[in-house]
Every structure is written in C-alpha cells, then in structure tokens.
Amino acid sequence: MYQYDSYDQSMVDARVAEFRGQVERRLAGDLTEDQFKPLRLKNGLYLQLHAYMLRVAVPYGTLNSRQMRMLGDIADKYDRGYGHFTTRQNIQYNWIKLEDAPDILADLASVEMHAIQTSGNCIRNTTSDQFAGAAADELVDPRPYAELLRQWSTFHPEFDYLPRKFKIAIIGSETDRAAMKLHDIGIQLVKNDAGEIGCRFYVGGGMGRTPMIAPVIGDFVSPLQMVSYAEACLRVYNRYGRRDNKYKARIKILVHEIGADEYRRQVEEEFAHILTLGLEPPAAELERIKGFFEQPGFDANASDELDLSDPDFALWVDQNVHAHKQPGYAIVNISLKPVGGIPGDATADQIRLMADLALAHSFDELRVTHAQNIVLPHVKKADLYGLWQKLDEAGLAAANLDLIGDIIACPGLDYCALANARSIPVAQKISNRFADLGRQRELGELKLKISGCINACGHHHAGHIGILGVDRKGVENYQLLLGGCEGADTSLGTITGPGFNEDGIVDAVEKATDVYLAQRAEGERFVDTYRRIGMAPFKEAIYAKEPANG
C-alpha cells in the first residue's frame, strides 16, 4: 500500500490547519453560512436534514488496518457508533457536530487519511477495482496510476471550480468491477500487441438524470502522458462545459452536445500544447509509487485444498469468495447487507473487527467496494474457515454477494437533503421479502440498486433491477427500471411504467423475478433474460389487474 512521505503528510496537515481556521471564522460569525458552505464542502462536510455529514475519502478504496480501526474509533467518538460505506468507495458519518470536524480531520491525518475534495465541483476521489493486485484476470495493477491521479488532482488550482463535480475511475482488468464507463473519465489500462501498457480514456459517462455510457476518446495514451491527457480533458471541460444549468453541466452533456469526435479534436489540440509544458511527473515517480504496491510475501507452499464439509461455510465460499491470482489464496468479500439491514452500514465494533482480520489474515489490507461491501484481498485458503466463523459471530457473514439481497442504496430521505424519497426502508423490505438464501441463490446474480432521487447515487440506472424514488405531489413514489448493467456489457435500465408506493414496489420486484424464473433459458441471468425477451412480458405481469374476487 502507498505510504505518505513528508510531502504528502505536510499537505494533509496544512489542510487540517486551514479548515480549523475556517471553522473558527464560521463559529465566530466572521463567515456567513453562504460563505462557509463552499469551504466546508471542499472538505466533505455537508449540512443534511438532521446534522452535518462528513464524507471521508478512501483513495481508490484501499485501506490498511490502522486506517480502518480509526474509522471505527471516529464512529464511536464523534458519531453514533456506526459509519456508512458509499457507492464511491468512501465512508460517511451522518451525525457530526461542526465544532468536532477539525478534530476528526486531524485524527484522519494521523493515519494518512483526509476528506479532501469529497464534495464540491472539483475532481473527486479516484475509484478503482476492489480486486486490484489480487484478481486472477488482472493485466495491470491500477493502484499506482490511481495514486498518481490522486496526487495530481489534489488541490489542482485550475480545476477547483469546474461546471460540476468530476469523477474518475481506473481499472486494469478485462472485467470491469468499477462501473468505469459510467464515470466522467474512465481509464482502462490495456496492453498492445507489443506488450506495452496504454491508458484507454473513456470520457463523458455518468448517471444522474441523464445517464450516458462514455465513448472512447483516447484509445492508447502512454502511461507517461496520462496526467497530461487528463489535464487536457479537464481543461476543455472547464472552458466549455455548460454553466447555465446545473443539470446540464456534467461533462457527459458537453461530449454529447459537441460529439465525441469534436471533443476528441479539442482534447488532442490541448494535449499537444500541454505536452510542451513538462507537467507530467517523470517515470521515476511512477516507479517510486509502484514500489509501494509490490506483491505481498505470499506463501508459495500454501495449500489450495479447502474443507467444505460445513454446509453454511460452503455456501459462503461459493458466493462470497473470489479467485485469487496466487495459488492457495482467495479474495474474501464481506457483505454489509445482512437480511433487513441498511446497505453499507457497519458498526464501530464491526469496523474494528474487519481491521483486526485484515491485519491477521490479509497482509494488512482492506478494500471498500462500490457495491458498499468490504474486501479482504489476500487471504490464505487455509485461514478461510476460522475467518468465516469470526465474521459470522459479528453478523458479517451474509452469503449474498451479487444476489438480490446485496442491495445498493443511497442514504435517501432518512438523511439526505437532496432526496425525494426514502431508500433505506425499501431496501430493508426487499431484503426481508427475499430473506431466504435458497431463494436468492435460485435467482442467481441479480443486482438491485435504489436511489432516493434523480441524482442516482444509488446507481439505479445500472441495476439489473433499479428503483428510483420520486416525489409525486408530496407522496413518495417509486419507479421501477429493468435491464441496467455495469461492466463490459454496460447498459442503462428502462422504466417499466407508472410508479408504486413503498409496498407496491416490493411486490413489483417480486413479480419481475417471477417472470424471470418462468422464462429463463439455461444459464441466463436476470438481465440476460430481460435482454432476450424484452420489457413486454415483465410489464404485463407487473401491471396485471388482480382478479376481482381474489
């Protein structure tokens, strides 16, 4: 894992000092709330419905046990004993006092963490593949490149007041586990026939109210020009992105309106100019960073054997454990989606337990996933049974990864000032309706994603089943979408028709799964069946009138 040197540390420390001063000015009345708002937002501090919310950056979703333990301690010390892991691989605390915020940032800085640029119209925390450095199908480890982007984007003086927020994801595997094409910039590290590494830049994707899949803008950019190319992409956007309407201000709208070819032409022109300026960190810097991401000291003699005689353990292994590139090791997914639970929430004790397990069994590493789960990337297969028992005791062994119980949901109207409807109770009801694990497994891979408003933090466009909460004349109403998907076959969901109330949406989801079970062909996932048979059979079942006499 990357470790700060004195430069990185002093930058984060300077930020804490700056923010402490700003909070003092606010508390003393020298700054109005209007003047203070953009300053606190640059440090991830939102004023929500009931309290301040602090969003802490987890750079490319990677943590060590010391950092994870601190996240648990902060939950106890400054919040109500829990934290909420988000779809952007970050963590949020929902019950923060303004006067505590500088102390929390200082605590974070003591473990090389921060809340820099987790909000505001700037470059946000770069996200990545939660299996980076561990996945069997990995071509290039994306983490060093993500760290290079982290440093470049931190306090970038030109891009702090963009037309709108800006999200970058980077992956290095064939399989896209980061929804890369649904980002403002998605970078896929690829290799050409000569074995050289290149960055394929997808620009102009996004969710929100106008979801778009990003087109390829730069097909094969040298990794030693990655920062310059990103700089060119951002400068064109900063100059020409729309500022007249915040709903049309994301880069996806610019790329869509002028066209990918024209945007590419402008980027290439700016890129040629930027290359003359020498802004790119040297190869030696990339090499220095790569040094922090060496493969851990795996035991070459670790056994690939696994005793699956305990059926519950066997189910968990089958569902939540992923192939590792190193024989004798496995990638463990810890689901934060217990039956009836709040997706992504973990208690302080659970967070500290996961930290301890990472230290003991995963070379001191954890990852946060965009599906709001936690990953232990490097676990010896021989350790799995003992690890599972400890997770099970702590309520962390839900064996439902990628099943219908593994629901993504935004905080919704229970917390969020932007929301139109609650997300959490809907997630809980669906989780309860499909509580039976056998039933979930029968339905197979089924990604269900819920957003409490059009901003789509719950990624509803990309759910095999998506749910969008809206406000209809003061009443919460839920629209159902089918057929969304992230990854290599990214597609956007389609709305079935009129919306439902809270119980009605749960019934509608169940009817959609019934259609799938009745119509699926051998080996088809829900989304595959939907793609083959289309919307009509689903719509018919979902909106069928109940017989008059039962």
Partner: protein
C-alpha cells in the same frame, strides 16, 4: 465598490482602461483588455507583445473559467499584469496565484496580511503550473 488592489509586481501599474476582447481586436493602441468568462483567451495570443494588463472577470467565484484563461496566457508567454477582478474571495487567492494572477481587485476588500497568509497555505504543491513552484514530484526526483 471598494477600489482596492492587491498587486505583486514591481513595474508601474497601467492606467489605460481595459477594453473588451471584441473591441481590442479593432483598437491597435489599446494596452489593457478585459476577459469575461465566455471569452476565448487564445484570441489574444497574436497580440501579447502589446498588452500590459489583462483583467479576468469573475462575476461569481463559482465560475472557474478564468483560471484556465490565466494559465493559457501565461503558458504562451504573457508577462504583463494579470488581474483577477470581481467576486474574488480570500480562500481562492492561493489557487489564482498558482494559475498566474499577480494582482487582484476583489469586490470586497481583502487585507494584504490575510492575502499573504492565504498564499502561504500550502507548504508544497503537487502540480507544475505557471507560478514557478517546483512540484512535489520534482523535489522527490531532483534532476
């Protein structure tokens, strides 16, 4: 409006009134020009040798186009005064300086002491820009 200028240059201030980018193209003797957010700073590049002052207007601090305009001018060798005017706030000064601004005419007065403190916020910087400060990567790998 308080007429207060923070200026970090040793040459004599230009007294000519700044003209719009459109007007500038037709006035061969103009030496000061004012860029609005929607103007293309590159339109000035053929005339940099006769410009002594560029004002970049920020009607709202949230409109960040002026940062790119400033950098583009400096990247192409503009060495005259580059002044940020309008909704220029204390907490933006440091980034503006990094993008090449060397004078500031904020709507609301900022004391030079507060400004100096703002410029000193960051002990180091992660990016090479046009202000001559070495990026952290350059310090890590001295040539």
């Amino acid at each position: 409006m308080v007429e207060q200028n923070l200026r970090y240059r040793s040459d004599e201030p230009v007294s000519d009134p700044a003209v719009t980018v459109d007007a500038f193209a037709d006035q061969n003797n103009a030496t000061a020009v004012r860029i609005e957010p929607g103007d293309d700073a590159r339109a000035l590049l053929p005339h940099l040798d006769r410009i002594a002052l560029v004002e970049v207007n920020f009607p709202a601090y949230t409109d960040g186009r002026g940062y790119s305009a400033a950098r583009i001018l400096r990247e192409h060798g503009y060495a005259g005064e580059l002044r940020a005017v309008g909704d220029v706030l204390l907490d933006q000064l440091s980034h503006m300086r990094r993008c090449g601004f060397d004078s500031f005419a904020p709507n609301q007065a900022i004391s030079s002491e507060a400004a100096d403190k703002a410029f000193a916020t960051w002990p180091d910087v992660y990016q090479k820009t046009v202000d001559g400060r070495p990026a952290i990567w350059a310090k890590r790998h001295p040539a």
